[in-house]
Structure formats: C-alpha cells, structure tokens
Amino acid sequence: MMAASVTRRAVAGPPILWVAALLLALAAALLPGFFSPDNLANVARQSAVLALLAIGQTFVVVAGLMDLSVGMLATLVLVLAADLMDGRAEATLAAVGLAVALGAGIGALTGVLNNALRINSLILTLGMLTILQGVTFIYTDQSLGAPSPAITWLANGELFGLPPSFLLVLVATGLAHVALHHTRFGVHLAAVGGAVQSARQAGIAVDHVVLVAFVISGLSAGLAGLLLLGRLGTGYPNAGVGLELDAIVAVVLGGTALAGGRGSVVASVAAAVVLGMVSNMLNLLEVSSFLQMVIKGGVVIVVILIGQIRPEVAR
C-alpha cells in the first residue's frame, strides 16, 4: 500500500510509457520486421548496457546527485577485463571479480571524495570521468584482448529463448527496486535527496547513504563494462564514451526528478529500453547514425517537456 503511494507518480506518471506505446504503434504500422522474436531479442540486448547504467544512476539521482564517471568506469573495466581474459574461458570468474571490485571500489572512492570534499557531484564525477579516461588510455590506446566465451554468451546468447543479458537486467531491476523502495537505505536515500537537512535532523547518516548510492552506481558500471565487452568482442578504449549522459537521459525520461527525492528503477529501465527501441527502429529504417543522434536529442527534449507540463495541468 505505502510503497504504491510513494512510487505511484514515478511509475505511472512518466510520459515515457506513452512514448513507448506510440513507438510500438508506429513500429506495427511501418516496420513489420520489428516484432520478429529475433529483432525483439536484439532490442533487449542493445538496451541491456544502458539499462544497467540507468539502474545505478537512479540511486545517485534520487539522492539529488549525479555520477558522470560511469561511462569511462565501464570502459576501464572493459579494457582491463578484455586484456585479462583475452578469450580464455578460465579467466571469466577473475574478470567478473575485477568488474565488481573495480566498479564498487571506484564508486566508493567517488562517494568518499564527494563526502570529504563537498564539491558539486557533477564537477567531481566529471573529474573522475577524465581521470578514468586518462588511466584507460595510459593502459592502452588501441583495442586489445577479447571476452571469454561466457561473457560473449552473456551479451549475445540465449537462455530459455531469451537473451541472458535481459535476464540479468530483470534480476538487477528487481533487486534495485526492493533496495530503493523497501529498505531503510532506500527510504533514507529519498529523504536525503528531498531535503538533506531534514534527513540529518532525523538522524540519518547522510554520508553513509550517499556512499552506498555511489557504490551501487559504480557496481552497475562495472557490470555494464563486462556486458559491453561481450557486445563489442574486443577491449576498445573508446567504447563507453557518452554512455554516462545516455544513462542520465534514461533516468530523467523515467520520471526521476533531477533534483532528487524520488524516483523509480523500473521506469529508468523502461526508458533505457525505449531508447534502445528508437535506435533499433531507426536502424531498421536505415536512418544514418548521425541523423539518429539528432532525432534522439529531439525525443529527449519533447518527452521532458511533456513531463514538465503534466503536473501543472493536473494541479
């Protein structure tokens, strides 16, 4: 009951769902190939990386902060894991461990710096982004290594007829949803994002909550890096450029307030999938990738505009 009341607006509200419906209708009319099982599986695979990043980013944004470091963090993980595995099956576990440790570790570092330095998180994580990019390029300035077969399968394969990456996203979404809406941490995170002074007054350990949010964001970036490696097949040091912005776009399209205080993981993931659908449809329509960027930008602005108009109409 209560959970519904807190999240109702975030889940039912975002115009992203209308956009999704509209897109599906368009696809049905124009692109018969869109609904083929193969293509739908493709959409799911294409969206998985962004969906993972969007899940992590949702936690940070609900706290009223932002994490721009995730795109390059995913890239660093991708390059290191590619070099480590170099196609060898037995190195899979080590690579997963690396992704988790590096992701959570860098996330924790960002969180600690955020709490200690009290710099605007946008600027702090922009700095982290640049540092991580530098480290990546110091390590290698060209593609190297390859994913193990298991990672390739995770990103491109099939399990019970479904893409494994999609199942991974579903599990992550479920866990994240519970964490955000049904744990003290989640409630406290929303309180911190809504009114940090009030949260302090209530005895909430604000720094601790923020640190955990950054760790979750880093962790999701680490896993996204592995998945992206599986998609690309090689450790390409420019792989994740711009992903952090896509992740924030997905979170905002999902109706999470950039000012913090409330949000929904489910809606963020839905938005990531819709972004994937748009790409897929434009690909099927053979629209050039540069024109696709223009169209995506336009969609983002229009959806945000609708989201801003709606509450006032309702009032």
């Binding site: 009951m1 209560m2 009341s5 807190v6 409630v187 309180a191 007054q201 209530a202 307030a257």
Partner: protein
C-alpha cells in the same frame, strides 16, 4: 518536581556570553511561554535544551535526573522534541514515512515494514485527533498540516517536553485555533509545552507561565494571570518602551491610487490617498497578497484596472508599476526580497544603480553615500556595509528591504507583512517609519495578519474575504474583535461595515 529544569545554563560564542546562568523549570502539563526580544538568547536556549548546542556551563535535568544531549536525536529519544519554524520534513515522502523517518519499523527480512509504519502512524494521528492521511505526500499538505506532521513525529518519540518555536507564524487564525486545541489536549495528557512566540496575545491566550529573557539573562518567570500585556512588554524591553498612543495623522490629500479588482463574481474598489495608510486585513487565503502583488504588477492578472494620480497604468509588470512609483515590499524577504549572498549595501542600492553610476560604471563612493545614508536613516545595525545581509537579525533584514524600496522613490508603497519575523523594537521602528512616510505624502498600503498592527498604523482598514473587500473601517471606529468577526464572515459586522465607505 519540575519535568524539565535548567540550572545556571550559560553559553558563550567566541568569549561573548549569549546566555548567562539561566534557571528555568517547566512542569508536566504546563504550557510555559519563553519570550524575549531578538537577541535575548531564546534560540540559544532552545538549541541547548533540544540537543543542537552544548552549554558552556550549567545543568539540564529531566524529571530530576541530569542529562546531556550530544545530538537532537538523543534529546528526541529522551523525550524532548522541538518543532522549529522551518520544518525538517522530507517533502516527497508521505506522512507515515516522515513520522518514522530514521526509525522505520522492519520486517524479519530486514525490509521496511510499510504496513506497520502506516498502521502505527494512523493510530498516532488518530489518538491525537490529527486529521491527516498517512499516505499523503507531505509536499501536498498545507503549512498547518505539515506542522501537525512535525508534532506527530515528536509525539512518536513519546515526547514529554514539546518545544514549539513560533508555531503560529505561518498559520491562519482558524489554523491557530486548531493548534491551540492540540496544545490543550497535549497539556491534558501531561506533556510540558515550551512555547516560544513573538505574538504576546497568544502567550496570554494559552500559556500558564511565562519566562522572560533579556540579553541572555532570565529576567522573570511569572504566572500569566499575574501579568498584563504592557507589563510583559516592559519586562522584555527593560526600560519603559511600552507602546505610545498612535500619533495624530495629517488629513489625507488627493486620490493617489484607485483600482478596481475583479475576482469571480465580486468587484472591489481600492482607493489610497496621498498621505494615507490603508490596511488590508483578512485570514490566509483571503487573497490579500494576491491583490497586493497585482497592484504592484507582480501577479499576472487581468483582473485589475488601476490609475495612479488619475493616469491609467496599462502594462502589468513589476517594471511598469515601478515606473509609476508603485513599490512593493514582499512578505517573504528571503524569497523575493533580499539578494541573499550579497552585502547590506548592495542589497540596498540594487534598485537604484543608475543613480550611483557614471558612464555605466558604478561609483563606489556615491553608492556608499546614497545607501549608507538611507540605512542610517532607518537605523539599521550591521557590522559593516559589506556584511552579508543574511547574517543580520530579522528586523535589520527587513530594514534593508525597506531601504531599497525607499531608494526607488515610491509614490505608492505596498508592504506585505512588514514586520514578519521582526523583534518588538524593530517593529515599532517600522511602524513609525510607515507613519512618517505617510506624513510626507506617500500613499501606503499595508497587508498584515496582525490586526493589532493595522489598528496601530492604518487610517482605514479594508477587510478581505474570498478575494473580495467585504468591509471597511475608518481609524478609531473598530477594534480587534470586530475585525476578526468581519474577516471570518460574521454577517452582523459585515452588514454594518459595507466597503463603499466614502474615500
């Protein structure tokens, strides 16, 4: 035995004593008012007993046992809760979550037990007769309802001592009455209520005893029944500073501002003459601020037609109103009155930069002369002209707002709650200023929730209700109970006071 007791409580900041040896005692089931002018040490005292500040010396006892609160949470848990003027709620979370924020009940799995939280909140709200939906997001509640959430939160800690800091400042009179009823009920179940307010009439209305602080020293603790208003004010201010009889007024001149205001079915006309102070009375929601802002071109409104000295004001914008000499002093100086990080001088001259510039460049000397003279005239006390305006007391902040308004050379001055959050001394100075300005030919419109304020300064009082002027009274023909009845819609009073009073 007293429930909450302090002995020799002292606090110094950087060697400057702000609280010196305060002995205080509040009994269970007592409403104990704490009053004093700004700077008397009330805030420091409250912060110490509620755990936000550590005392430099002295003891706090709760039910006879010495206690020491390192944090507000410790005070809460011990049963001492404070409801500040500014609430500490998480706006996007619901009522139940806010009540239990930081102490959410959990299921065996470690997840937040929302069903129990909701149930407990509903039971708590019900016990105390608070009509609130535990599922409602706090951001959608009125200020009065948010205050109830704060109180419910305090009560959820089994508060024995409830401290209310200026609780009625943002409430309409009916909401105030409901709050007083809540206080009576809490008192009946043995809660000690420490009541802090600038509004002395409330102190007389609900307090059993009153403790007066002055310059960090406890001057007196008295039974309220043994005091009258004038006596209490003189205890607060020290030397004889009780309110003098309002000075006689010059006869108002020609019509300066004439406006017709249409809202729904109702049409109201507002006339303010040169040299006249017109008061606008009414409860929250009556539309006073909307009307005042519309007159000042601040509300997007095609509901209003107005002339200044017979000339129609066509364009509705703050800039157009300013060019006609209509200057507005906001009710919420932090929101649209002050430039908060800037210094006092910059705040004062911000609207008159043309007058202190040459060839587009600011002349620091001229700015200091123009602004400094105005600040001196208003007797604004600041450590320096560059001192950040938000470091000043409420009264001095309000003087800075007035200083900028006066530098705009107004012909019509519209003041919305000109003495909100201002101490007694500064309040009297602002009242004197308004009278002085009217004496020099300004047309002044004063919006106030305090009927006593309007009775003290206004030549005429218009009463608003449901966005229309429903009654008008000339100076000396009305008292506070009558204004209250008019504003709350008593037909007998309204019939006798039609607003078409000859201007």
């Amino acid at each position: 035995m007293a429930l909450l007791e302090t002995e020799g409580l002292s606090k110094s900041f950087a060697g400057v004593p702000v609280l010196s040896g305060v002995d205080f005692a509040a009994e269970a089931g007592e409403v104990h008012a704490l009053v004093g002018a700004n700077g008397a040490g009330k805030s420091t005292f409250l912060n110490i007993v509620s755990g936000s500040l550590a005392p430099s010396a002295g003891v706090i006892r709760l039910a006879g046992a010495a206690v020491r609160f390192a944090t507000p949470q410790q005070a809460h848990r011990a049963g001492v809760s404070i409801v500040h003027q500014e609430f500490s709620l998480a706006p996007l979370l619901d009522v139940a979550t806010n009540v239990f924020l930081g102490r959410e009940p959990r299921t065996r799995l470690g997840l937040v037990d929302r069903a129990r939280m909701r149930h407990d909140a509903a039971a708590l709200l019900d016990t105390h007769g608070f009509r609130l939906d535990p599922d409602a997001p706090v951001a959608g509640l009125s200020v009065a309802e948010q205050q109830l959430v704060e109180i419910a939160r305090a009560l959820s800690f089994e508060a024995q001592v409830l401290i209310l800091d200026e609780p009625t400042a943002a409430l309409s009179p009916p909401e105030q009455q409901r709050l007083f009823a809540v206080i009576e009920r809490l008192k009946a179940v043995g809660v000690a209520i420490l009541y802090v307010s600038h509004r002395l009439d409330e102190v007389f209305r609900i307090a059993d005893r009153v403790t007066v602080l002055r310059n960090g020293i406890r001057v007196a603790t008295r039974r309220v029944a043994d005091l009258d208003h004038a006596g209490l004010v003189s205890l607060m201010l020290g030397e004889a500073a009780a309110a003098a009889a309002p000075p006689p007024r010059a006869t108002p001149g020609s019509v300066r501002l004439a406006a017709t205001y249409r809202a729904g079915e109702a049409t109201s006309s507002i006339v303010v003459r040169a040299g006249e102070i017109v008061g606008l009375a009414g409860f929250v929601g009556a539309g006073r601020t909307h009307l005042a802002r519309a007159l000042a071109g601040r509300a997007r409104s095609n509901e209003i037609e107005m002339t200044i000295d017979g000339k129609a004001v066509d364009r509705r914008s703050a800039g157009a109103a300013l060019r006609h000499g209509v200057v507005y002093v906001t009710e919420d100086r932090k929101r649209d009155g002050l430039f908060v990080p800037l210094g006092v001088l910059a705040n004062t001259t911000a609207g008159a930069l043309d007058r202190v510039s040459r060839f587009g460049l600011l002349q620091a000397g001229r700015e200091q002369k123009l602004g400094g003279d105005m600040l001196a005239r208003l007797r604004l006390a600041a450590p320096s002209l560059a001192a950040p305006v938000n470091h000043l007391s409420g009264g001095n902040q309000q003087k800075a707002v007035f200083a900028r308004a006066l530098l705009a050379e107004p012909r019509v001055l519209i003041c919305d709650e000109p003495t909100r959050g201002v101490d007694v001394g500064a309040k009297a100075q602002i009242h004197d200023l308004l009278v002085e300005l009217a004496g020099r030919g300004l047309a002044v419109l004063v919006v106030s929730s305090e009927f006593a304020e309007l009775l003290a300064v206004a030549d005429r009082i218009l009463v608003m209700r449901d966005r229309a002027v429903v009654a008008a009274f000339a100076r000396g023909t009305v008292d506070e109970p009558t204004l209250f009845r008019a504003a709350s819609g008593d037909p007998a009073v309204l019939a006798a006071a039609r607003p078409g009073l000859p201007p």
